[in-house]
């Protein structure tokens, strides 16, 4: 098949970017989207052009490294599918594709389609964990977790941290990402002691990173390759409110523990 690409080319963070057109022929429908870009990059290298930079690693939809906006949709048109798992058979012959990086103030562009998602790591560092020193854990089956809770926690824990939710949101909000972690840990008995401090700490860091607010568009859920539900955002809001109302002193210490 044949496709026309318009790819965002930006040589560096401070430099201006521009769409560049590439016409591709002999594209196999069995190729993944990234393999199609691999082929293009081989062609660019052969004519001494700079290949397109894009993040990718596992290419099986789990590491969360890849991601680009394809015709306005993060990860492209297929439901519940990362860019690396998207195949060219999802597009009609002769398709015209506009390919851009995630666009959000908190995700600055590094080069071409590569952005800096360090903000997500810093949000986790601000409380997205359960403190359990190595060696001090009790026998695993001494703690019962109802299957329904464990399953729901797993639904939330499936987040791969790719950032599509931010790219899809008109406000570039990171609420779905934060909600997924707050819910995963907050649903489990192990997560209760730090529950209030966790949500307060993570939300404060989210705000500090420059992500926007949530206004319930729901675009995040539609774009999420793991189909994380926005119900978790409701859970996050509830946890946050409860934390600031009933634990007003739950200021976060450096280690995420609560003083309250």
């Amino acid at each position: 098949m044949r496709v026309t690409l318009h790819v965002w080319r930006q040589p560096g963070p401070e430099l201006a970017g521009v769409f560049v057109r590439y016409d591709m022929t002999d594209v196999s429908p069995d190729m993944s989207f990234l393999e199609m870009l691999d082929v293009l990059n081989q062609q660019l290298l052969a004519r001494q052009d700079d290949p397109i930079a894009f993040d990718h690693d596992c290419r099986e939809g789990i590491c969360g490294a890849c991601g680009m906006v394809i015709n306005g949709r993060p990860h492209g048109p297929r439901r519940a599918t990362t860019t690396c798992q998207l195949h060219m058979r999802s597009f009609p012959d002769g398709a015209e594709l506009w390919i851009e990086p995630w666009r959000a103030r908190a995700f600055p562009v590094i080069k071409d389609l590569v952005v800096d998602r360090g903000a997500f790591d810093r949000i986790i560092q601000a409380g997205g964990f359960i403190t359990a020193r190595t060696g001090s854990a009790p026998e695993a089956n001494s703690l019962l977790v109802p299957k329904a809770d464990a399953d729901l926690a797993m639904d939330a824990a499936a987040c791969i941290g790719c950032g599509a939710c931010v790219a899809a949101c008109p406000n570039a909000s990171a609420m779905l990402f934060v909600a997924a972690k707050v819910s995963h840990l907050g649903l489990l008995p192990q997560g209760q002691p730090e529950r209030a401090a966790r949500v307060v700490g993570m939300v404060a860091q989210m705000d500090a990173e420059g992500f926007g607010a949530c206004s319930n568009h729901g675009e995040c859920m539609a774009a999420c390759p793991k189909e994380i539900s926005i119900d978790f955002i409701a859970r996050l809001n509830r946890d946050y409110l409860k934390a600031v109302v009933s634990h007003p002193s739950s200021v976060v210490r450096g280690d995420g523990g609560s003083n309250g």
Partner: protein, 637 residues
């Protein structure tokens, strides 16, 4: 070079406890003075970095990905083994130990494997405490499933994303330490060399993948948790970035490389579809619990699978191995798949595939149960192939997946370079010639949470390394060498891309040093690799500059190292004139086509010492003594 395995005396069951109690400790106040460099942030690296920081050490952690959460451990699907005996099916530490030794075809160290089995139960405790959402039963207790090569149900899992959940647990523990400032994290930083001063590992040279800056990091010990080298085959189930560079450079600086030829070809991967293919995708081995593997009895069968009646199907694993059936270990399942395809009975495009059929399980358990167990795997399969496994049996074919070989380490996980440790897949220690399913996660976390944090203290307490300055001349010199290599890669203004060279190397390795090997093929491969390597440095075109994000340059450095390493891999496979586990030499097989070991001649670990490029490496042997198990030909019949 001398191999001192430092295996403690005493009965097998008491070795680790006794060793741990006798280990030298570092005074808590002194721990802060020690700086440990951890390279890699997968299960082994992240768990080690977090645990060391909890103990009070200063830690720097490096990964080439944009976040430590993306390390390739994340892709492990099926599960993690532990001898909890929650199912009351007779499991025990000894049984897990025995299964692992036997599964590895008696080419691993008893003491290490026993320790691994002992620790396994605590890993589950630790991960549960961190909030890893393991699958549970309705009563709230942890659930188990069974896995290849064993007859008990001891595998813990989190849907088909066990690796992801375990890694996120370790990543979160690491993040907590980064947040408090006890770990300094260096993402998008690739280790390009090791600095050894006075026989001790004292630091590393890294390249910042964004700015291209080459810098020196000094420390009191270096821990390599940099994974395996399956990407030497180009097509593998590994992430694109996985590479041999860190351990290869360490090897060139004095660390012995053990059993490099032991590479695992996983039986259940989605077959290749075309020349554009960039990687192969694994379908979890857990599917073999409920799936039946078969091919048509006749060559050149043209009927679609559902029209082939029962009597025309060959469920070859069930036929050949009645007691293990579809749960035969990976090496055997892979080799038999290749065999039936070589006979012309393979299915799918090119005949490189066998059916993995869940029809009977769907009929028995219902669609809902199967969807709950394997739903995400089915979806992944459908996304890649366009076929629905509920309607059409899956097609699978073996693919390179895991490397049992790695840096030689002693019982303390220290390499032959003092102060240099290797953990997780990067070392050779626990899986012998074949790894059992759900054991890699167990080993990575055992090393990182429960072994290295103790044993590294023993070294620091005794060696008392004094602080070294990254301005030391040794750092300057090696940093210069690294920069020069980068310059040379960019200066070679040839015509072929890095990717093209990598594919060519991969083809040679798959053909000659893959699922089955023979002396003539291995010799031919070694000659060809040498030629390709020369051609690479002459005719590669990398493009771009060194002082920027340059993914082609990153790839070029890794491929250059694969070219050097590949020769050692073939050398090892050629030297080992026996078949064991995944290492199948066509010349050495039983009449039934099973691997034929030669314990008398090859009952040892082959540890290779680097002697200079183009020079024959020096072989050192660590004899394997078996006291608790009886050496036998593996039988899964």
């Amino acid at each position: 070079m001398e191999l001192r395995s430092r295996i403690p005396d005493g009965p097998l069951e008491a070795k680790w406890e006794r060793h741990r109690s006798g280990i030298k400790l570092v005074n808590p106040a002194n721990k802060l003075k020690h700086h440990i460099l951890v390279v890699g942030s997968g299960l082994a690296g992240a768990s080690a970095a977090a645990s060391l920081a909890e103990l009070g050490y200063r830690v720097s952690c490096f990964c080439f990905q944009d976040s430590p959460r993306r390390a390739h451990s994340i892709a492990a699907q099926g599960g993690i083994n532990a001898a909890k005996n929650y199912q009351n099916d007779g499991d025990s530490v000894f049984r897990l130990f025995y299964d692992t030794i036997k599964g590895g075809d008696f080419r691993s160290r008893e003491a290490n494997v026993y320790r691994l089995a002992e620790i396994s139960a605590r890993i589950i405790d630790q991960c549960t405490a961190q909030g890893v959402p393991f699958a549970r039963e309705y009563g709230g207790l942890l659930a188990n499933r069974s896995f290849g090569g064993v007859q008990v149900s001891r595998t813990f899992y989190a849907r088909g994303q066990t690796g992801q959940q375990l890694l996120l647990g370790a990543y979160q523990a690491l993040s907590r330490q980064i947040g408090i400032g006890t770990v300094t994290m260096y993402p998008r930083s690739e280790m390009l060399d090791l600095v050894v001063i006075d026989g001790r590992a004292r630091g590393i040279i890294t390249r910042d993948l964004i700015s291209g800056a080459v810098s020196a990091h000094a420390g009191d010990a270096v821990v390599l948790a940099t994974g395996g080298y399956s990407n030497v085959y180009y097509l593998s189930t590994n992430a694109k970035g996985c590479n041999v560079t860190a351990i290869w450079r360490a090897h060139k600086r004095g660390a012995a490389f053990a059993n490099p030829g032991f590479t695992q070809i996983h039986p259940t991967c989605i077959p290749q579809t075309g020349a554009h293919q960039s990687k192969l995708t694994l379908m979890s081995e857990s599917l073999r619990n409920d799936g039946r593997i078969w091919v048509p009895k006749r060559q050149g069968e043209t009927r679609p699978p559902h029209q082939i009646p029962e009597e025309d199907r060959d469920y070859y694993l069930e036929r050949l191995y009645p007691s293990y059936g579809n749960l035969a270990p990976r090496d055997i399942a892979s080799r038999r798949a290749k065999e039936v395809c070589d006979e012309g009975r393979g299915v799918g495009p090119g005949g490189h595939g066998v059916y993995l059929d869940l029809r009977d399980a769907i009929a028995r358990l219902g669609r809902r149960v199967i969807a709950e167990r394997y739903g995400n795997l089915f979806e992944m399969y459908q996304r890649i192939t366009g076929e629905d496994p509920f309607q059409v049996p899956m097609r699978i074919y073996p693919a390179p997946h895991y490397t049992m070989g790695g840096l030689w380490v002693d019982y303390n996980l220290m390499t032959t370079v003092d102060g240099l440790y290797a953990i997780g897949e990067a070392n050779f220690s626990d899986h012998g010639a074949n790894r059992l399913g759900a054991s890699a996660l167990m080993q990575g976390l055992a090393d990182g949470y429960f072994i290295l944090p103790y044993t590294i203290g023993d070294y620091l307490a005794q060696a008392k390394p004094v602080t070294v300055d990254p301005e030391h001349p040794a750092f300057h010199q090696i940093r210069g060498e690294v920069a020069e290599r980068v310059r040379r890669l960019l200066a070679a203004s040839g015509r072929k891309t890095v990717d093209a060279f990598h594919r060519e190397l991969g083809r040679v390795m798959w053909d000659k040093c893959g699922m089955s090997r023979n002396a003539a093929g291995l010799k031919e491969a070694m000659g060809r690799i040498g030629q390709l390597r020369d051609e690479f440095w002459r005719d590669v075109h990398v493009g771009g500059r060194g002082e920027e994000l340059n993914q082609s340059l990153e790839h070029a450095g890794r491929v250059a190292d694969f070219f050097e390493f590949a020769e050692l891999m073939c050398q090892d496979a050629l030297y080992r004139e026996e078949s064991c586990g995944c290492h199948f030499r066509e010349e050495y097989q039983t009449p039934e086509g099973e691997a034929k070991r030669d314990d008398e001649r090859f009952g040892y670990v082959a540890a290779w010492e680097f002697a200079g490029l183009g020079k024959e490496p020096v072989l050192h042997k660590e004899p394997l003594a078996f006291e608790a198990v009886h050496l036998a030909q593996r039988s899964y019949k």
